[in-house]
Amino acid sequence: MHRTCLKSLSNLLHRREISSQELTRIYLERAARYNPVINAFITLTPEHAMEAALAADQRLQAGSAGPLTGIPVAHKDIFCTDGIRTSCGSRMLDNFPAPYNATVVERLQDAGMVMIGKTNMDEFAMGSSNENSYYGPVKNPWDTNRVPGGSSGGSAAAIAAGMAPVTTGTDTGGSIRQPAALCGVTGLKPTYGRVSRYGMIAFASSLDQGGPITHTAEDAALILNAMCGFDARDSTSADHPQEDFTGELNRPLEGLRVGLPREFFDSRLDPGIGGLIRDAIRRLEQSGARLMDIDLPHSALSIPVYYVVAMAECSSNLSRYDGVRFGYRCTNPENLLDLYCRSRGEGFGDEVKRRIMIGTYVLSAGYFDAYYLQAQKVRRLIRDDYRQAFNSVDVIIGPTTPSTAFKLHEKTADPVSMYLSDIYTVSVNLAGLPAISIPAGFLNGLPVGMQIIGNHFSESRLLNLAHRFQLETDWHLARPGAYA
């Protein structure tokens, strides 16, 4: 059952061949069995899940169910869940049961989905390996000596190990796509503003975007239908017409113009990954796509620009954690300043503190113009590169990551080497574009992800291309042996 796609699960539920309660039990049982090894979940919510499953079964019985009613889902622990711990992977929020639901949580709940738990993540979504979680690292189901990627590592590992049929994630600089690539699953980062940020704990507000992690592009389309839509409670929510993302899945690829950025296939890329991505691209060419080389000349600057913007925004967003109104408070503060400094010093982990300090520095008097303002200007140049490229191509394709899953502790001693694993993903966030990572083969037994980037609001096109590719390949069907 745990290998069944969402559409088939939905059909089984609607034909009453399985109940939501039975399906939920299967996933709760798998999640509980594998969590001691994979550590994909921070919190499992069996009681909440069984109540929701019962309600879903009643809707299915009454004939008032939708396509997602009764299907289990796990949310990244960055999405606020009313009355349920929402830790954001941090000691700071270890004691925080959110007082309301995020819009994403509410929308999937209204669709009848059954939340089975909250997934592990890098603290405040800051990290590319999931080693920055207060709750310990997540392990990659393909090789438990390796990282699953981050920051949505728990959400990606849970899909790979069959602990949930669909999970939510957030992507500020690659945090959905990079773990999806490293765990051999499908991860979609929508256009900035598509998915409401209300109740999604803020890291870098001009970059953060929620999205689904699934096995297939078709599954992602089904979930995206329910996840996205205008939300007055998010000041940057895009007021864009509602679409059915499953509508274009089967469109033929004839004449599709595919751009291949020279900068994404340079010497930093593992040659083995480069070969697999070129094989995948040749397959698309055989399906009728037209390939052309393109240039994104400023992409080498995307890492420095990204880290200035992201750290500046995080230092501002995380100033709310002061030990006064909610979250961690130090014991026996001497005075108000001591309360602030020790609550934050003890409540935040190392990487979060590093980023807050860099952010504080680049925003401080005398440095603002040289760092933050310059970053915002170069950000425009990076965006303009993409704008120029989309004058001549429909989509852009390249690798999602420069290497396959690395070993635990391999990059923890040097934060900069960790940052460089985001080299192909961060520019997409700077430009606010949608992108999807899909499985494109294996290198030495580890999954490799292919990234497809589109123009603003072109998710249907990305899902169409990904779906056609998945009809012709079976990389997305591979499961790690121990969890098959």
């Binding site: 420095p304 200035v308 909610f326 935040f348």
Partner: protein
């Protein structure tokens, strides 16, 4: 670009973060490395480029001035470390 220990302590003070003395050296090293990475963008000529504040360059939406939130003080204060009579408690500020 090297951030001296004194500078790191100054930034930590601004950011309201207590660092242990034993940690400061490691932060000084790591933050200097990160700044070195960031410096790579400094050489780009951006004299005629306007800063980009928002990926879709939308303007802030306005709404009617109506009450949309209800009072949930009890629910929110139940999450606080210390409250009394509807107030959040902190160490004494004024003697």
């Amino acid at each position: 670009m090297v951030l001296e220990k004194e500078k790191v302590e100054g930034i930590a003070r601004l950011a309201r973060l207590e660092l242990k003395t034993t940690e400061i050296e490691a932060y000084s090293r790591d933050l200097s490395r990160i700044l070195e990475l960031i410096e790579e963008m400094k050489g780009v000529n951006t004299a005629d480029v306007a800063p980009m504040e928002h990926p879709l360059e939308i303007r802030a939406r306005l709404r009617e001035d109506q009450v949309t939130e209800t009072d949930q003080r009890g629910k929110y204060q139940a999450l606080a470390p210390a409250t009394a009579d509807g107030f959040y408690l902190v160490p004494k500020v004024i003697e």
